[in-house]
């Protein structure tokens, strides 16, 4: 497979790009780290799609300036909650996940149809990981749907300002 490689300097293609020679950074270059980012993902409620759930979380987190450690913690936390949701549902159902990133914080909500009438009891190891990795999380069942909610902050510095 052949690839076309654009050798045009980045600054010529995109006037917002950083000028590496002068070190000047156009004001708009940092714009993505201050924008609100919203991503919606709908996947079959099967464990093979947990990778996509994690990948989307990482994408949103990196866009709002998460460091690697916080990003990895978010990936684990959203994986744990989505895994519970999938476990409580049926493979024919669809898991919808909404990611919102703003001001160094990522909020994730997930929803899937279930026949359960109350949230499941988490396995001890999953509970431990969620307590360690998430800043806030919840699992609820209402109207035939299991919903999870997760909040993860980026670096402490970003949230202290």
């Amino acid at each position: 497979m052949a690839f076309d490689v654009d050798t045009t300097p980045a600054t010529a293609r995109d006037p917002d790009a950083i000028n590496n020679r002068t070190g000047e950074t156009p004001p708009d270059t940092l714009r993505p780290f201050h924008q609100d980012e919203v991503v919606e993902l709908i996947v079959p409620a099967r464990t093979e799609h947990l990778r996509l759930v994690r990948l989307a979380a990482a994408g949103v987190a990196s866009t709002v300036g998460f460091g690697l450690d916080r990003l990895e913690e978010l990936r684990i936390a959203v994986d744990e909650l989505a895994a519970v949701a999938i476990d409580e549902s049926d493979p024919s159902q669809r898991l919808s996940v909404h990611y919102a990133g703003a001001r160094g914080t990522v909020t994730v909500t997930g929803r899937v149809a279930t026949t359960a009438t109350s949230p499941p009891e988490l396995h001890r190891v999953a509970q431990t990981l969620l307590d360690l990795m998430a800043d806030d999380y919840s699992l609820n069942v209402s109207d035939g749907h299991l919903e999870f909610h997760l909040v993860k902050h980026g670096t402490p510095d970003m949230n202290e300002s």
């Binding site: 990948l55 990895e72 990981l129």
Partner: protein
């Protein structure tokens, strides 16, 4: 996050190593954890004593993976053998640290 899209976890069993070694490459989650569980079970039913898990290519692990590892550790310990986690990546090493599992499991960096 660079695991093969078609093969999220590759499990290679080097049964003739001393001790037998299971090499993991990719991501360990509820979808792939049964692969590791099976490999460990096969080794144990084949009479293996100590077992090494080579984690140098493991990029992600959640509670489902930790549960398999903890269970294997307990089973081997009960049989008078030991499980060694070898060369965990930085991500997995940090997970073992924050969960305090490093102090309970045998880890070789």
């Amino acid at each position: 996050m660079t695991a093969d899209l078609d093969e999220p976890l590759r499990v290679t069993v080097r049964a003739t190593d001393d001790p037998p070694t299971i090499v993991l490459h990719g991501e360990l989650d509820p979808h792939t954890a049964p692969l590791l569980e099976r490999a460990l079970s096969d080794l144990q039913s084949g009479g293996a004593g100590d077992v090494v898990l080579d984690l140098s290519g493991l990029e992600f692990m959640d509670s489902s993976g930790l549960r398999v590892v903890i269970s294997a550790h307990k089973d081997l310990e009960a049989a008078g053998a030991k499980l060694t986690l070898r060369h965990p990546t930085a991500t997995i090493g940090r997970l073992l640290d924050v969960t305090n599992l490093r102090s309970h499991l045998r880890v070789e960096d």
